[in-house]
């Protein structure tokens, strides 16, 4: 219709919608007028009064039909029908509350699972940073090296990108760091970000108090000791002091002036942790040590993000940035040869927890979709049962002239009603569960329920409506008037013509649940393998902690003294068997050092530059962690900065570079200097539990010094006792120092496999749900079949079938369906579990144990689900069944 037409029609439509009574009355009046005029005319033609009236009525035809057709002509009848259907649907739901609750519960679970998982995906991967504007244009920036290690970039390179790239709005640096924060006598370690001065402007976050950073505040060595603090830090540690701006606070022994407080709900730009403070890049050295790096193109420490200009794709920006990177390589070969720059979508950000969470979330998306399908199949089945019960009603409605389209609308409306309730419930589930992942992972994750989660749930709800509404509608198509007039209760277990649809829905449910069971089984087995595999070092009796010496301003000589003094004190604590330092804890987030090596007699193949990771460890590191020295000796206090360089290699390294000869006494070139190999250590796990044995070596901490190594303590004492004693000893040495967290190495191992644990837990929970839903479906089908075939059962029993026969008959019918579902499930699982391959450790995706236990669980559940209906069938009273 044209706009002009709407000008006339809209008031009419609104009137017929909202003043329906008035419109109907007008119509009645109009038709009455017509009759009167016609009668008058007939009279004037000399007809008798009776004939005049009957002739006029005959000519006009059925008034009700005309009224109906006029109402249709008003064009709003479909809306009215909808409300009518809605009212009717609500009445239907209230009439059978058991059915309604069950159906809504199923949909709540199905939709809730999807909404929850999507809110995680949304909150962690797609738009992970609350309050940050235009996250869809934000991409992560890292450097690349030929061996893909150390993916950071340097400050001068960052500035170069800012200067020469035309496709990007802004580049921001955002590097996670930690600081000791002492307020009063309470000191602890808190996380924050080292950022570029454009940070707050570029991400569109305005501090709620004070200001952000101004241009130029990210240059000059230690030139701008200013900080913006988080809302939570402000509330918790400064008691929401309204006069906070301009006050000073010590972060890691440097006095900072607080210039701003970030708004509530802003947690920075690091997936998995909430930031508590932000400082400009000019202060980097105060937190990370290692000299002033802002002028050093070779110092790669910057992590950051790039905001693309609107309409620019990541690929286009990548091309431009790669051009910049190659130019930098050409101009600064000394620092930049082999170094590139790379952009990542936020969900692949390598320097935060996004990349570790992604596989888990991928599994969850698939699993939630499965649960959703199972739930829909269940509700469809319930509706089908009801549509049989409502056959009579449908028939009557068809007989008195309802169109089949109208019936379809009615059924869809009822489906919509159910799925809307389900979606509302699902949103509640998602609301409660959005923080569950954060709790499970002991990470900080801002779960957000934003419009996109709502939109997705609405979409899912719509799909559910179609799925659950259309199946009974499909069935209703077959209602035929003649046969429906016959009273019918003459069914036979499993032999009803229309039952195939319901049976195939149950088969589908069994199939999907079986796939989930197998998946859960595989993941559980994999987790078990990972957790029981030995990491190659002791885990239970060894504690791991460290003190933030760098942040506290210790230089190397002071740190050496502190470390020696602390070590002496720790060794003399009661219950301590041994203690040692190591720069990097295995299986943690911090990367090991890495160096090109050379070995006498080992000739690398062309193009090969042997590069090996290593750790800097103190004397007693090996006995403390329980790593065996299989040949030669371990490091001693004599292996210090003045002694000849030495190294201990692991067995894999010895085998690869010395071809099985004992390397003790041989030379190894580390960072361009020759060291003598003095020992061989047993292999262990270094970066992840699922890695295969790899070359690795150790050098003495004193010969490659680090101010902030981890401290390992082997003790049979409970951790709390040691922590209390340790804190006392640290305080005795430096009253301003707090310890970082103390954990056992077992916890370290557990953390490294925590995402697997979460995946297993969630898949387990959802797999259990799916199993429950499928058994409800099976139970429903069998109960219905039994209730529909009492006559047949009665007949059989009258003819001499025993209780056992009846039981067997019902159960075997259920098990036939289950078996069909399992067969389909095995085929599906065979095809799908391959996709799990990457998540599995030492487990074949077609592991017979996982398939076998899936089969067993499914069968047992099926028997349990059939038992009650079968029992009811067996208690059929033949006399009554035949009489009724």
């Amino acid at each position: 219709m044209s706009i002009q037409q709407w000008f006339y029609a809209l008031p009419l439509r609104l009137r017929s919608l909202f003043r329906r009574k008035q419109a109907d009355q007008d119509l009645k009046d109009e038709l009455r007028d017509h009759l009167e005029l016609e009668i008058a005319q007939n009279l004037s033609r000399g007809m008798s009064p009776e004939d005049s009236r009957s002739s006029a009525v005959r000519d006009l035809g059925g008034v009700t039909q005309i009224e109906e057709r006029c109402r249709e002509a008003r064009g709003v009848s479909s809306i009215q029908d909808f409300f009518q259907d809605l009212r009717y649907g609500v009445r239907q739901l209230r009439r059978s509350p058991g059915f309604s609750v069950l159906a809504i519960l199923c949909l709540t679970l199905g939709i809730g699972a999807n909404a929850t998982v999507f809110s995680w995906v949304e909150g962690l991967l797609l738009r992970p940073y609350p309050l940050v504007a235009h996250q869809e244009r934000l991409v992560a920036l890292t450097g690349t090296t030929p061996d893909s290690e150390n993916p950071e970039t340097s400050w001068p390179d960052l500035l170069e990108i800012q200067r020469s790239c035309t496709l990007i709005d802004s580049v921001i640096a955002s590097k996670i760091t930690g600081a000791t924060l002492s307020i009063g006598d309470h000191a602890d370690v808190t996380t924050g970000s080292i950022v570029s001065a454009n940070y707050f402007d570029a991400i569109g976050v305005r501090p709620m108090l004070g200001r952000g950073f101004q241009p130029g505040e990210d240059s000059g060595r230690n030139a701008h000791p200013i900080a913006v603090i988080s809302y939570r830090l402000w509330k918790d540690r400064f008691n929401g002091d309204p006069e906070i701006i301009g006050k000073t606070q010590r972060f890691s022994n440097v006095v900072f002036t607080i210039v701003g407080v970030a708004p509530e709900g802003f947690f920075g730009t690091f997936v998995g942790r909430a930031m508590n403070f932000w400082v400009p890049a000019s202060m980097e050295e105060a937190f990370e040590g290692g000299g002033y790096k802002l002028d050093d193109r070779g110092a790669r420490w910057v992590e950051g993000y790039v905001r693309l200009k609107p309409g620019v794709t990541r690929q286009q920006a990548q091309q431009e940035i790669s051009t910049v990177a190659s130019r930098l390589e050409a101009v600064y070969p000394a620092t930049n040869r082999g170094h590139g720059l790379q952009l990542w979508p936020l969900w692949e950000t390598p320097f935060n927890h996004a990349s570790t969470l992604r596989p888990t979330l991928e599994i969850m998306v698939a699993v939630a979709a499965f649960v959703f399908l199972i739930a829909c199949a269940n509700v469809s089945n319930l509706l089908l049962v009801r549509s049989f019960a409502r056959r009579q009603e449908m028939t009557v409605r068809l007989a008195i002239g309802a169109g089949r389209g109208r019936l379809l609308k009615q059924l869809l409306t009822e489906g919509l009603l159910l799925s809307t309730f389900g979606a509302a419930g699902g949103m509640l589930v998602a609301y409660w569960c959005r923080h569950a992942l954060a709790l499970l992972l002991t990470l900080y994750l801002p779960g957000e329920m934003d419009s996109r989660v709502l939109a997705l749930s609405a979409g899912v709800c719509l799909i559910a409506t179609l799925l659950v509404g259309l199946v009974p509608a499909f069935q209703a198509r077959h209602v035929d008037l003649a046969s429906a007039l016959r009273a019918e209760s003459t069914g036979v277990v499993g032999a009803r013509g229309a039952a195939w649809l319901r049976s195939s829905l149950v088969v589908l449910q069994v199939c999907l649940s079986f796939v989930l069971l197998v998946g859960a089984g595989l993941l559980i087995k994999s987790l078990h393998e990972v957790r029981t595999a030995s990491p190659g070092f002791s885990t239970s009796k060894v504690l791991d902690t460290s003190a933030p010496l760098v942040a506290a301003g210790y230089d190397a000589p002071r740190a050496k003294v502190f470390q020696d003094q602390l070590m002496d004190r720790v060794r003399s604590l009661p219950g301590v068997e041994s203690a040692g330092y190591g720069r990097v804890t295995p299986l943690g987030y911090i990367p090991f050092s890495e160096t090109p090596i050379a070995v006498d007699g080992y000739i690398p193949s062309p193009g090969e530059q042997p590069t090996v990771e290593y750790n800097q460890v103190s004397p007693a590191y090996f006995p403390t962690l329980g790593i065996a020295i299989t040949s030669g000796r371990e490091f001693t206090r004599d292996d210090d900065e003045n002694a000849p360089l030495v190294a201990i290699v692991n067995r894999t390294m010895a085998a690869r570079y010395w071809r099985g000869k004992d390397p003790v006494g041989q030379r190894l070139q580390v960072k361009g200097k020759w060291a003598q190999v003095v020992g061989v250590a047993a292999d262990s796990k270094y970066e992840s539990m699922s890695e295969s044995p790899r070359p690795f070596f150790y050098v003495p901490l004193r010969q490659d010094f680090d101010r902030e190594p981890e401290l390992y303590i082997r003790t049979a004492q409970p951790p709390q006792t040691i922590v209390a004693a340790l804190t006392r000893e640290v305080r005795a040495l430096d009253a301003n120092l707090a310890l970082y967290e103390t954990i056992t190495l077992q916890e370290q191992v557990d953390r490294s496999t925590s995402t697997q644990l979460v995946a297993v837990t969630l898949v387990g929970i959802l797999g259990g749900l799916a199993l429950l839903l499928a058994s409800v479906g099976l139970y429903g089908l069998m109960s219905y079949a039994v209730s529909q075939s009492t006559r047949e059962l009665g007949l059989r029993m009258a003819l001499g079938a025993g209780v056992f026969n009846v039981l067997r008959m019902v159960i075997s019918r259920g098990l036939t369906l289950t078996a069909a579902g399992i067969l389909a499930g095995i085929a599906t699982a065979f095809a799908l579990t391959r996709l799990l391959g990457g998540y599995l450790y030492h487990v074949n995706p077609r592991d017979p144990l996982a398939f076998g236990s899936g089969l067993a669980v499914m069968m047992i559940t099926a028997v349990a689900a059939c038992l009650l209906p079968a029992w009811r069938a067996a208690r059929t009273d033949p006399a009554r069944a035949l009489r009724d």
Partner: protein
Amino acid sequence: MSKPSDLVQGTLDMLILKILALEPLNGWAVGQRLKQISGGMLQVSDGSLYPALHKLEQQGWIRAEWKSSVNNRRAKFYSLTRIGRKQLEKESASWNSLSAAISGIVNLKEAST
């Protein structure tokens, strides 16, 4: 109450518009006029007339008003709107060209065989 199956759908609409273009009328009078003008050739039942009138009203081509009629009774009168008039012109034009084409074909001389 047979449907005007012999009337091409839309033709009834055009006829109603044409009748209302002459003067505003109530529903009954439109029916009377239809019978008169077509000399009984077009059998439009009153049952189809009212839905057609309501549809035209919904499309904005005619407008309804409750007015007093000659014998001082309130009655619903239909009249043509401005866009209704345009619609009538359009439909008349296309009807004329269509009927010209059809009569051209119908009047073709059959070749003698």
